[in-house]
Amino acid sequence: MTTVTEALRDLLRLIRRAWRRPAFRVAFSLALALTVLGLLGPYVAPYPLQGLGVEVVSERSLLPPSLEHPLGTDAMGRDILSRVLFGLWRATVVTLLVISVSSALGLFVGSAAAILPKPAETVLVYTMELFISVPSVLLAAALVAATGGGLVPLTVALIATWWPWYGRVAYTQARALRELDFVNLPRLFGLSRLYIVRKHIVPHVVSPVLVEALSDLGSVVIEMSTITFIFGASQSISEPDLGVMVGLGLRYITTHPWVVLSPALFLALLAISFTVFGEVLYEEANPVLRKRWFRWF
C-alpha cells in the first residue's frame, strides 16, 4: 500500500506545483466541476425519465430553450438538460474506469514483462503490440454486434486498446531497472519474481504511468464519444450519450441548433479541460520543460 500512497503524494505535489499556472487552475476547476456534475448528474437532472429516454412525448418535440426546459427539447420531446447530464455521467464514469483499469493492467503487465524469462517477455511485449494494432472502434463494433449493445462492450473495447500504451511505458521504465542491484540481488536470495515486481519495480514505475494515464484522460473522452458518434443510430436512441446526441442532432443543426449545440459544447468542454489538465501535469513532470529557456546562440 505504501507504494500507492507515495505515488499519490507525488501526484499531489505535482498538482500543487502546476497550480501556479493559471491555465491549469482553469482547466482543473472546470474538469473537477464537470466530473462532479457528471457523477451527480442522474440525481440532479430535472426530468430523470426523459434523461434516460424512457419517457417520450411527441407534442413537446424540438421546443426552444425555456424556463421549463433550460436547454430545450430534442426530436423525441425529451429535456436536453437531463439528457446532457445523463450523458455526462456516462462519459465521466467510462473514462475514469477505462483509465484506472488499463493503467493498472498496463503497469502490472509491463513491469512483469521486464523481469520474466525471455520467452515470456517476448510473448507479453508482442501481446501489447497486438492490442495496439487493433482499432478500438472495430473491436467495439464486434462486441456490440455479438452482445447487443450497451455500455459494457464499449468499455471493454476501450480498455483492451488503451492498456498496452501504459504497458509500454512501464516496460521501458522497468527494463532500465532490471540490471540494477536492488532488483538483481533479491533474485539471488531466491525471492519470487512476483514479489520483486510488486516490491521493487512497480514503486519506481507507478509515477510515470500515472502521469501518462492522467494526460490521456482527454483522449479517452474523445475516443469514446467518437465511437458512439459513429455507431449513432445503430445504438439504441434512448441511451443518453453525448456522442450519439451530437450525431443524431446534426440533421437539425440549421433548423433547431440547440439540439446539437449543448451536447457538443459540454463534450468539447469536458475533453478540452481534461486535455489541458493532463498536458500541464505532463509538462510539470518533465524537468526539462520546466526550465525557462531562450535561444542563446
Binding site: 491555465a23 508482442y126 501481446t127 503490440e129 497486438l130 495496439i132 494494432s133 487493433v134 482499432p135 478500438s136 472502434v137 472495430l138 473491436l139 463494433a141 464486434a142 462486441l143 456490440v144 454486434a145 455479438a146 452482445t147 486498446t161 482527454g218 483522449s219 473522452v221 474523445i222 475516443e223 464519444s225 467518437t226 465511437i227 458518434f229 459513429i230 455507431f231 449513432g232 445503430s234 456522442g243 451530437v246 450525431g247 446534426l250 443543426i253 440549421t254 446539437v260 457538443a264 463534450l267 468539447a268 475533453a271 478540452i272 481534461f274 486535455t275 489541458v276 498536458e279 518533465n286 526539462v288 520543460l289 526550465k291 525557462r292 529557456w293 531562450f294 535561444r295 542563446w296 546562440f297
Partner: protein
C-alpha cells in the same frame, strides 16, 4: 546496424502478430455470447432463418473438433476466403479492402498536412520556450487537438455549406461528384490515386477539392500532439552536450539546428506517426460520416444495422494486419536511420 538477420527476425515476428490477430478474431467469433452461428448469420428472422443459421454452422464448422476449426479458420483467412457479407451479399475481402483504401486515403492526406506542420510548429515553439510564441502554439495545439474531431468536422461542414450556398457553388459532400463517377473505374479504391493512374485530371481535381476539408479537420489531432512531442524532444536535444559543443565551436546557428538538433527528432516523428495511425483511423471514420464519404465508417454503420458479423471481423483482421505490416516497415526504416533502436 541494419542486418538481414534483423529484417528476417522482425518479419517473422510480424507474421506471428498477424496470426495473433487472426486468433483474436477467432476468439471474438467463437466465444461471443450466444450461438456463434446465429451471430455469424446476422441474427436472421423470418422464413429461411433456420437455413441461414445452418449454412453459417457449416461455414464455421461448429460440429468439428476445436483444433480442426482453428486450422480451418486460419487456412480460410490466409487463402482469402473471408466469408460473405450479410448486408451486401458479396465477399467480405473486396468490400473491406475498398472501404479501407478510401479511409486510408483520407488518413494519408491528413498526415501529409499534419506531419510537416506539427514538426515546424514544435521546433519553433521549442526555440522560444517560455516565450509568447511558445505559449500561443502550445495552448492552441492543446485546445485544437482536445476538441473531438467530429465536432470540428460538423462545424467545418456547416460553414462550408453556408459558404457554398452564398456563393452558389456546389456543396462539398462525398468523395467525387456523381457525374464524374459514371464511367470511372476504381483500381485501388483511393480515388486520387486511381484518377492519376488513368490520367483523368478532372476527377483528380474534383476529388482533391473534396478531400482537403475533411483531411484538414482530421489533421488537427496528429498536428497538435506532434507539435507538443517535437517541442519536448527539441527541448531535450538542446540540453545535450554535443549541441553545446557545436555552438561553442562557432558553427552557425542554422547549421546547428539542421545538422545537430533535427536528426535527433526525426525518429520521434516517424515512430509517433506510426502509432497515431490506429487512433486517426477511428476519427477518420467519424469525419467521413459527417462529410458523406464512403469508407470504413460507412461500412461499419451498415454492418451494425444488420449485425453483419463477417464484415466486422473481416475489417478488424484487415486493418490490424495492415497496421502490423506498416509498423514493421517503419521499424526497419528506423533501424536504418537510427541504428541504436536495434536491440
Amino acid at each position: 546496424m541494419l542486418t538481414l538477420n534483423y529484417i528476417v527476425r522482425r518479419s517473422a515476428l510480424s507474421l506471428a502478430l498477424i496470426v495473433g490477430v487472426l486468433l483474436l478474431s477467432f476468439v471474438l467469433t467463437y466465444y461471443a455470447p450466444g450461438d456463434p452461428a446465429l451471430t455469424w448469420a446476422g441474427r436472421p428472422r423470418g422464413p429461411g432463418a433456420l437455413e441461414a443459421v445452418e449454412r453459417a454452422r457449416q461455414e464455421l464448422g461448429l460440429d468439428k473438433p476445436l483444433w480442426y476449426q482453428l486450422s480451418a479458420y486460419l487456412q480460410r483467412f490466409l487463402s482469402g476466403d473471408w466469408g460473405i457479407s450479410v448486408k451486401f451479399k458479396t465477399p467480405v475481402l473486396g468490400l473491406v479492402v475498398r472501404g479501407f483504401a478510401a479511409s486510408l486515403e483520407l488518413v494519408a492526406y491528413s498526415f501529409l498536412i499534419a506531419v510537416p506542420l506539427g514538426y515546424l510548429l514544435g521546433i519553433s515553439a521549442a526555440l522560444s520556450r517560455g516565450g509568447l510564441r511558445d505559449r500561443v502554439i502550445y495552448y492552441l495545439s492543446v485546445a485544437i487537438s482536445g476538441t473531438p474531431r467530429f465536432i470540428t468536422a460538423a462545424a467545418a461542414y456547416v460553414s462550408l455549406y453556408v459558404l457554398s450556398q452564398a456563393l452558389g457553388t456546389p456543396v462539398i459532400y462525398g468523395r467525387v461528384s456523381s457525374e464524374l463517377r459514371v464511367g470511372f473505374t476504381e483500381i485501388t479504391g483511393a480515388i486520387t490515386v486511381d484518377s492519376l493512374i488513368q490520367g483523368r485530371l478532372d476527377v483528380l481535381a474534383d476529388s482533391l477539392l473534396r478531400i482537403i476539408p475533411p483531411a484538414l479537420v482530421l489533421s488537427t489531432y496528429p498536428m497538435g500532439v506532434l507539435a507538443r512531442v517535437v517541442r519536448l524532444a527539441v527541448a531535450e536535444t538542446l540540453e545535450e552536450e554535443y549541441v553545446r559543443q557545436a555552438v561553442s565551436l562557432g558553427i552557425p546557428a542554422d547549421a546547428v539546428l539542421k545538422r545537430y538538433v533535427a536528426p535527433g527528432v526525426v525518429p520521434v516523428v516517424t515512430q509517433l506517426s506510426g502509432l497515431f495511425f490506429s487512433y486517426s483511423l477511428v476519427e477518420a471514420m467519424a469525419v467521413e460520416g459527417v462529410f458523406g464519404r464512403e469508407g470504413l465508417g460507412y461500412l461499419l454503420v451498415k454492418a451494425l444495422e444488420s449485425s453483419d458479423y463477417p464484415l466486422i471481423v473481416g475489417s478488424i483482421v484487415l486493418v490490424s494486419a495492415v497496421f502490423v505490416v506498416a509498423n514493421t516497415v517503419a521499424d526497419v526504416v528506423q533501424a536504418k536511420v537510427n541504428p541504436r533502436v536495434v536491440v
